[in-house]
Amino acid sequence: MLNTHTKNLYQDVILDHNKKPRNYKVLEGHSHMAHGDNPLCGDKLDVYLTVDENNVVVDVSFIGDGCAISKASASMMTTMVKGKPIDEVETLFHEFHKMSTGKLDPDAEPNHLGRLKIFAGVRDLPARVKCATLAWHTLDAALKGERIVSTE
């Protein structure tokens, strides 16, 4: 049995996304991409997006190496943003960031995080916040046309 402290984070859903990451590929014909680096951990990932003329994310993918938290976060991010207009994606990014840093309690305040709430546990692990948010920062950079982002 894991200590409650870590059990909150290493839930089955996260372990499953770590083992079988969704949308794990290079996206052919993508319109946006960025590379994200977390030099402290050595986490590296690339996020690819295809955004159509109506500013909707019609497809999204990622590849990379990292810890379970960063990989599962990237995987679940792709499943959440696919099909969403980019303004909704930006809202999710901000809410996710606020939740991870303890500035938004997803059970007490209104939000759109849904199943991403599973990452709320990282707020108790300051050293791991960057792992959870790396994919989101990279996605944000891709949408803003920046190609490289670092969480350091």
Partner: protein
């Protein structure tokens, strides 16, 4: 033969329970579990003797050094210089002039780079380091080489994490201006044949700087026996405070070196036309030094001496053997760094699990280990891994704590189904 924890412990010559009582932090609970502090290579804990020496200084003696004629200033100066003598004896340097207080090993390497090597390094010259170095013994040389259009050369390591010395003579050329090598690798624990490297370099009149950050808590360091020209250490790796370190330098070389930082305390006289620099070692100690930390470092040297380096080494070797055997029984664990001559640390990876997840789960069990690249990215690249989990032991650690580490690792494997 498999021994129980208790049996192994009884064969050791140290009174570990008594030693543990000297370290207040070891009584802490972390996430509901007793702290098992296995991150000593990153920073070791301080015994009450060190904490008290620092506290006593602040409560009774605090003043500036080398300045006032009043009582407190004289006491502070006395304590500060007494600490210098303790470190001189600890490293067996021949003179107090060779003991320069710095802020740590990184500072010491930078001092040598800027005050010694820089003016001797020309375009096309070479600096030789090894593939095992910590970033602090890479980056200052890289920057210097870039600025001077010189070449940074690197001695390779083998699959066990040992420096390959076969072609050492080819690496020591007429253009080599300095050799930098760590005494013990922080990432893998390899104890390097420093004396051999110094002898080979000196045959060609090439000076050697040794990064001794990891050696002082484990090894008997005798700078005269090693024959090295510079030896840099950090206080907090040897049970002392942070923010203090020492650079040992051979007097003959220090005499020729220009000042590093400049300001008060490093001068004999100042006018707007002429500055006369102070004598050694003060020439390299500009400004008010970390007085309390230096006194704490002296107390740390006393503490290590009171236990005895021989006893420390025997006990830590027992911990290393125990950890290597117990972790080695887990098939998913792969050790990185299997040198014949090793200090008491184990670096390992678990296939399919990132070290940061290992670190977080172990922390949940109250076990502190280091996970990451250990400021030695070239070592990680050499073994094609992003990071390792590293457990590094001190004389206050026990086989029971290693048993908890092993149980924690088994738990990680179970959770990740690795």
């Amino acid at each position: 033969m498999i021994q129980t924890s208790e049996a192994v412990r009884n064969t050791a010559t140290l009174n570990v329970d008594q030693i543990r009582d000297d370290f207040p932090v070891l009584g802490r609970m972390i996430n509901g579990m007793p702290l098992a502090y296995l991150d000593n290579a990153a920073s070791s804990q301080s015994p009450r003797q060190v904490i008290d020496a620092v506290k006593r200084y602040h409560e009774f003696h605090h003043s500036n050094v080398h300045r006032g004629v009043h009582t407190l200033s004289q006491e502070a100066t006395g304590l500060y210089e007494e600490a210098r003598e303790k470190i001189r004896a600890f490293l067996n340097a021949s003179s107090l002039k060779e003991i320069i207080f710095t802020s740590g090993t990184t500072d010491g390497v930078n001092l040598v780079a800027s005050s010694f090597v820089e003016e001797r390094l020309n375009e096309g010259d070479e600096i030789l380091i090894t593939h095992l170095e910590h970033h602090s013994n890479i980056v200052p040389w890289h920057i210097l080489c870039e600025r001077k259009k010189a070449k940074l050369r690197v001695l390779p390591i083998n699959d066990n994490g040992e420096i390959i010395l076969d072609n050492l003579d080819d690496y020591l050329t007429s253009r080599t201006r300095i050799v930098g090598v760590n005494h013990i690798s922080n990432a893998l624990g390899t104890i390097n044949p420093v004396k051999k490297i110094v002898e080979a370099a000196h045959r060609k009149n090439i000076p050697v700087i040794v990064d001794g950050a990891q050696a002082t808590p484990h090894e008997i360091v005798d700078v005269q026996d090693l024959g090295c020209d510079f030896y840099a250490i950090s206080g907090h790796k040897m049970y002392g405070p942070t923010g203090i370190g020492v650079l040992y330098g051979r007097q003959e070389l220090l005499e020729q070196m220009r000042p590093y930082r400049s300001g008060g305390d490093m001068i004999l006289s100042v006018s707007f036309d002429k500055v006369v620099y102070n004598e050694l070692p003060y020439r390299f100690e500009a400004g008010t030094p970390p007085i309390a930390q230096a006194i704490g470092l002296g107390a740390a040297a006393d503490y290590i001496n009171s236990i005895g380096k021989e006893a420390i080494r025997n006990y830590e070797n027992m911990l290393l053997d125990y950890a290597t055997r117990k972790l080695g029984e887990i098939p998913q664990v792969r050790f990185i760094g299997t040198a014949k001559d090793k200090a008491s640390l184990v670096s390992f990876v678990i296939d399919g699990v990132h070290p940061h997840d290992v670190g977080t789960i172990l922390d949940g069990e109250g076990i502190a280990v280091r996970t990451g690249h250990h400021c030695a990215q070239p070592v990680m690249e050499r073994f094609s891994i992003p990071a390792t989990t590293r457990a590094s032991f001190a004389f206050y650690n026990t086989t029971e704590e290693i048993d908890r580490l092993v149980a924690g690792v088994r738990k990680v494997i179970e959770v990740f189904d690795a």
